[in-house]
C-alpha cells in the first residue's frame, strides 16, 4: 500500500515558492488546496494524477515518440497540483501586460509607418532593421483598426524576491493556449470540491473572445464575416491546438492549399465551389505566407494573399510583420518604448539584459559567462541558448566564440532563480522551477485571460521550461476577488 502524500518533507529551498512561505506555511490563497491534498487517503493523489494523464491520452493531446517505429505516443507531461495566483497579484500583472501590449502595438505600427522612435534615437534603426522578424515588405501597411499584435503570449518569470519579470514577448504565433483550456477541464475532474469552495476565475471564454476579435477586425460591410484559422498542416507540432481552437471558436480550419486568390479576394475551395474568406487567424509564419512576396519556395502559402491584404480585402491576425518585436534585442528596449509612447513608467520590468553588440556590455558578459544565461536574439523554444552555471568550461568557451563572431545575435541575462512550485515526483512532492505565459487578446479592448500556461522544468534543478526541452505544464488558478 502506498503512503499518504503530504508536504512534511517538502523543502522550498532558497527560491520563491508559489505554494509556501519561507517558513513552510501554505500561502493564504493555497490553504484550501493544501488542506484538500493532505486530507486525501493514501494513493489518492497518484490515482488522480494517473486519471488526468489517461484523460489527456484519450483526448489525443499526444505526440509520437521518435525512434519508435510502432508509433508509440505520449502525452505532454502534466502535473495536477495547480499553481495559484492571488487576486491582487494578478491585477497588477494584468495592468502591466495591457500597458506593455499597448506600447508594443504602437511600436510595430511606428516601425512600419513613420519610424518616429528611430528618428528620435530611442531605438537604433540598425537594431530594428536587423531583426529577423522585420519585413520591409510590410512598410506602409495599415492593418484594420490599427491593431498589429492581436494575440500575444508573454513569458513571465518570478525571481527570488517573488517579483514578476518579463522574459520574452511572443507576438508572432504564440502557442499553448489550448493547454490552458485542456488543463482546466482535467483539473475540474481532479479537484471538483476545491472549485466549488473557492472562486477561481474561468478561462473558458477564450474561444469566444478570439472569435469576437476576429470579427472586429474583419473588412467592413459584411455583417457575417467568414473567419478561418490558417495552419501549416497536420505535421506541425501545434496542430492539435489549431484544430482545437478552430473547433472551439466555430471557425474553419484551412491549409494553404485550401485557399486561392481569385478576382482580388481570398477564397476557400469548397465542395460547392469557391467561398470568400474575410479574416485569417494565421498560424503560419510570414516567410511561408505568400511565395510571391516572401519565400518563393514555400508550398504552404497562398500566392497573391499579400496583395489582397494590402487592399484591405482580407484581415490577418497577427498582422504580418509583428515578429519584429520578438527579437530579444528589441525586447530590451520595451521599457523605453513604454515611456516613449505612453509617457508612463513600466508596471512590469524586464529581466536585466546585456546587449552583446554594445562593447562594454559584451566585455561584462564574456567575463561573467558562468553566471549568465545567453540567448540567440532570433531563436525561441529554448534553442540556441547557454545556461552559464550549468555549462562545462568547453561549452562556455565555444559559446564565447559565437558571441565574438556575431555580437548582434546575442543577449545575456543574469541567471534568475526562477520561482518553484511542488510537483509530484515518484511518491512525494519536490519543488521545480516554473514560468508563466498569459495570453493577451487585442480586439475592441485589450483582454488578458486570467492565468495562462504555467510551464514547469521537470528535470531537477533545470531552469528550462520549454516542452521541447523536457518541460511540462500545470493548470494556473487566478483567484477571484475585488478587481483593482
Amino acid at each position: 500500500m502506498s503512503q499518504k502524500m503530504d508536504f512534511s518533507g517538502y523543502d522550498p529551498g532558497p527560491f520563491h515558492d508559489e505554494m509556501f512561505t519561507p517558513s513552510g506555511a501554505p500561502r493564504p490563497g493555497c490553504r484550501m488546496l493544501y488542506e484538500k491534498i493532505i486530507s486525501l487517503p493514501a494513493g489518492e493523489i497518484l490515482a488522480r494524477q494517473a486519471a488526468a494523464e489517461q484523460a489527456l491520452y484519450d483526448m489525443g493531446i499526444t505526440f509520437t515518440v521518435y525512434g519508435h517505429e510502432d508509433g508509440t505516443e505520449k502525452i505532454f507531461p502534466f502535473d495536477i497540483v495547480p499553481r495559484v495566483i492571488e487576486a491582487a497579484e494578478w491585477d497588477t500583472l494584468e495592468r502591466g501586460l495591457i500597458q506593455r501590449i499597448a506600447a508594443l502595438n504602437l511600436f510595430i505600427a511606428d516601425v512600419y509607418g513613420k519610424g518616429r522612435i528611430m528618428a528620435d534615437g530611442v531605438v537604433p534603426r540598425s537594431v530594428v532593421e536587423s531583426s529577423s522578424g522585420y519585413f520591409p515588405e510590410c512598410l506602409g501597411l495599415s492593418p484594420p483598426r490599427g491593431i498589429w499584435c492581436h494575440i500575444t503570449g508573454t513569458d513571465l518569470v518570478r525571481d527570488e524576491h517573488g517579483r514578476f519579470l518579463v522574459l520574452e514577448d511572443n507576438l508572432r504565433c504564440p502557442s499553448g493556449v489550448s493547454y490552458v483550456l485542456a488543463n482546466r477541464r482535467i483539473l475540474k475532474r481532479a479537484f471538483p470540491q476545491v472549485f466549488e469552495a473557492i472562486d477561481i476565475r474561468p478561462v473558458d471564454d477564450y474561444p469566444p473572445l478570439l472569435l469576437d476579435m476576429l470579427q472586429f477586425i474583419a473588412p467592413q460591410g459584411n455583417s457575417r464575416p467568414t473567419a478561418a484559422l490558417l495552419t501549416p498542416g497536420v505535421f506541425n507540432s501545434a496542430y492539435f491546438e489549431h484544430t482545437f481552437l478552430a473547433q472551439q471558436a466555430g471557425i474553419e480550419l484551412v491549409e494553404g492549399r485550401d485557399l486561392v486568390v481569385v478576382d482580388g479576394f481570398v477564397h476557400m475551395r469548397t465542395t460547392k465551389g469557391l467561398k470568400r474568406v474575410d479574416v485569417l487567424y494565421r498560424r503560419v509564419g510570414e516567410d511561408f505566407l505568400d511565395p510571391t512576396v516572401f519565400r518563393p519556395d514555400s508550398l504552404l502559402g497562398v500566392p497573391g494573399i499579400m496583395d489582397v491584404y494590402k487592399a484591405g480585402r482580407v484581415a490577418m491576425a497577427n498582422a504580418p510583420g509583428t515578429g519584429v518585436a520578438d527579437d530579444k534585442v528589441v525586447y530590451a528596449y520595451v521599457p523605453r518604448m513604454i515611456r516613449y509612447y505612453l509617457g508612463e513608467e513600466p508596471l512590469l520590468d524586464n529581466v536585466e539584459t546585456f546587449l552583446c553588440w554594445e562593447d562594454k556590455a559584451r566585455r561584462h558578459v564574456l567575463a561573467n559567462l558562468d553566471k549568465m544565461v545567453v540567448k540567440a536574439a532570433a531563436e525561441s523554444g529554448g534553442y540556441g541558448m547557454l545556461v552559464g552555471p550549468a555549462a562545462t568550461p568547453e561549452e562556455r568557451e565555444a559559446f564565447a566564440a559565437k558571441i565574438e563572431a556575431n555580437p548582434r545575435n546575442y543577449i545575456a541575462q543574469p541567471t534568475v532563480g526562477l520561482s518553484r512550485t511542488p510537483v509530484i515526483v515518484g511518491d512525494h512532492f519536490e519543488g521545480r522551477h516554473v514560468d508563466l505565459r498569459p495570453y493577451v487578446v487585442y480586439g475592441e479592448n485589450i483582454r488578458v485571460i486570467p492565468g495562462g500556461l504555467t510551464r514547469v522544468a521537470l528535470k531537477k534543478g533545470s531552469l528550462v521550461v520549454n516542452s521541447s526541452q523536457g518541460g511540462g505544464s500545470k493548470d494556473t488558478w487566478v483567484l477571484g476577488g475585488p478587481a483593482a
Binding site: Y57, Q247, E252, V260, V262, R269, T270, T271, K272
Partner: protein, 324 residues
C-alpha cells in the same frame, strides 16, 4: 464545406466501416470453422480472397492458417486493409477534421485506435479466440455511428460521412457473399446439405442479418439470401439499400433533384441503382454470382472515382488561372 475536409470525412467514415466489416468477416469464419466437421481442414484463405488482398498476402508469404490470416487481416500494419491500418487511417483523417466532428467522436476514434494497437501487441489470446475482439470492434464502430447520428448536425458533413459509410458497406456486403463462394464444401453433393445451410446462416449472422432475414423469408434458401443481401430495399446492409441511401446523400449534397444528374458521380450511381432495382435474383444466378459481384465492385469503384473528381480534387483549372 472545404473539399479537403469533405474528402477526410468520407475516408474516415469508409475506414471505420471497413474495420467493422473485417471484424465481421473474421467472426463469420471463426464460427464456420467451429461448425465444420472434423475431417475438414479450417479454411481461412477465402477471407483474404474475398477482401481482394490475395496478391499482397502471397507476396508477404504469410502462413495460410488461422493465425496467419487473422494476423494479416487484423494486425498487420503493412497491410493497408488490416483493422489496425484502417483505424490508423481513420484517426489520421479524423485528426484533420477535429473542428468538424464532435469531441466525443474524436475521443472514441482515438481510443478505438489505441485499443486495436494494444491488441496487436498482445495478439496471442485474440488469435486463440477472436470473438471478443471482433465484438468489441463492432460495438465501438456502432458507438461512433451513434454519436454521429445524435451529436452531429445532419448537414453536408453528415451526408459525406454517410456517403462514405454506405459505399464502403455496399462493397463489403458484396464481398461477404464471395466468402461463401470461395469456401469449398467437402463434396459437390454437399450443396444444399445441412453443412451448406450452417454456412449460409453463419454468413447472415456475421452481418447482423439472420433475424431480419428470417422475418422476411423464413427458411434458409441460398437464392433468397442472395436476393436479401443484394437487392433488399429495407435491410440496411443490403447492397441496394446502401446504394439507394448513398444516392440520397449525394443529391442532398448537390441539391440536384432525384431522377436527374448534375455530375458524373450522380450519373454512375443512379445508373447502378437502376440496374440493381430492376434485377431479378434469377438473372444474377444465370450470369454467375461471383461474376456479378465482381462487376458490382468495379462499378462501385467508378462511383468512388467520380466522387473524388466531383468533390475532392483541388480544382486544377482555378490553380492555372490564379497563377496569371
Amino acid at each position: 464545406m472545404l473539399s479537403r475536409v469533405a474528402d477526410a470525412i468520407y475516408w474516415m467514415s469508409r475506414y471505420l466501416e471497413r474495420a467493422e466489416n473485417i471484424a465481421r468477416f473474421i467472426d463469420v469464419n471463426w464460427h464456420l470453422t467451429l461448425d465444420a466437421p472434423g475431417a475438414v481442414t479450417e479454411q481461412w484463405t477465402p477471407l483474404v480472397r474475398a477482401m481482394g488482398d490475395w496478391d499482397l498476402f502471397l507476396e508477404k508469404g504469410v502462413s495460410q492458417d488461422r493465425d496467419g490470416v487473422i494476423r494479416f487481416m487484423a494486425f498487420d500494419q503493412a497491410s493497408p486493409n488490416s483493422i489496425v491500418s484502417c483505424l490508423s487511417h481513420a484517426r489520421d483523417n479524423a485528426r484533420t477534421i477535429r473542428e468538424i466532428i464532435p469531441t466525443e467522436m474524436w475521443e472514441q476514434i482515438n481510443t478505438f485506435y489505441h485499443l486495436a494497437r494494444d491488441a496487436a501487441r498482445s495478439s496471442k489470446a485474440i488469435l486463440d479466440n477472436p470473438y471478443q475482439f471482433c465484438d468489441e470492434v463492432k460495438r465501438r464502430d456502432l458507438t461512433i455511428s451513434g454519436i454521429a447520428s445524435d451529436a452531429m448536425s445532419h448537414d453536408e458533413a453528415w451526408d459525406f460521412l454517410r456517403l462514405g459509410k454506405l459505399v464502403e458497406r455496399a462493397d463489403k456486403t458484396s464481398r461477404i457473399l464471395d466468402v461463401k463462394y470461395f469456401i469449398l464444401l467437402p463434396h459437390p453433393t454437399d450443396v444444399g446439405s445441412n453443412l451448406d445451410y450452417v454456412q449460409w446462416a453463419a454468413l447472415l449472422k456475421a452481418i447482423s442479418a439472420l433475424e431480419a432475414y428470417r422475418r422476411r423469408h423464413g427458411r434458409i434458401q441460398p437464392d433468397r439470401i442472395v436476393e436479401f443481401l443484394l437487392l433488399d430495399h429495407d435491410f440496411p446492409r443490403s447492397v441496394l439499400a446502401c446504394l439507394l441511401r448513398a444516392q440520397q446523400c449525394l443529391h442532398a449534397i448537390t441539391g440536384t433533384p432525384m431522377g436527374y444528374f448534375g455530375n458524373p458521380a450522380e450519373k454512375r450511381l443512379g445508373h447502378l441503382c437502376g440496374d440493381l432495382a430492376y434485377k431479378g435474383v434469377e438473372e444474377i444466378f444465370a450470369s454467375g454470382l461471383h461474376e456479378f459481384t465482381d462487376d458490382l465492385q468495379t462499378r462501385m469503384n467508378l462511383v468512388d472515382e467520380a466522387c473524388y473528381a466531383t468533390f475532392f480534387s483541388t480544382f486544377p483549372a482555378i490553380d492555372a488561372a490564379s497563377q496569371q
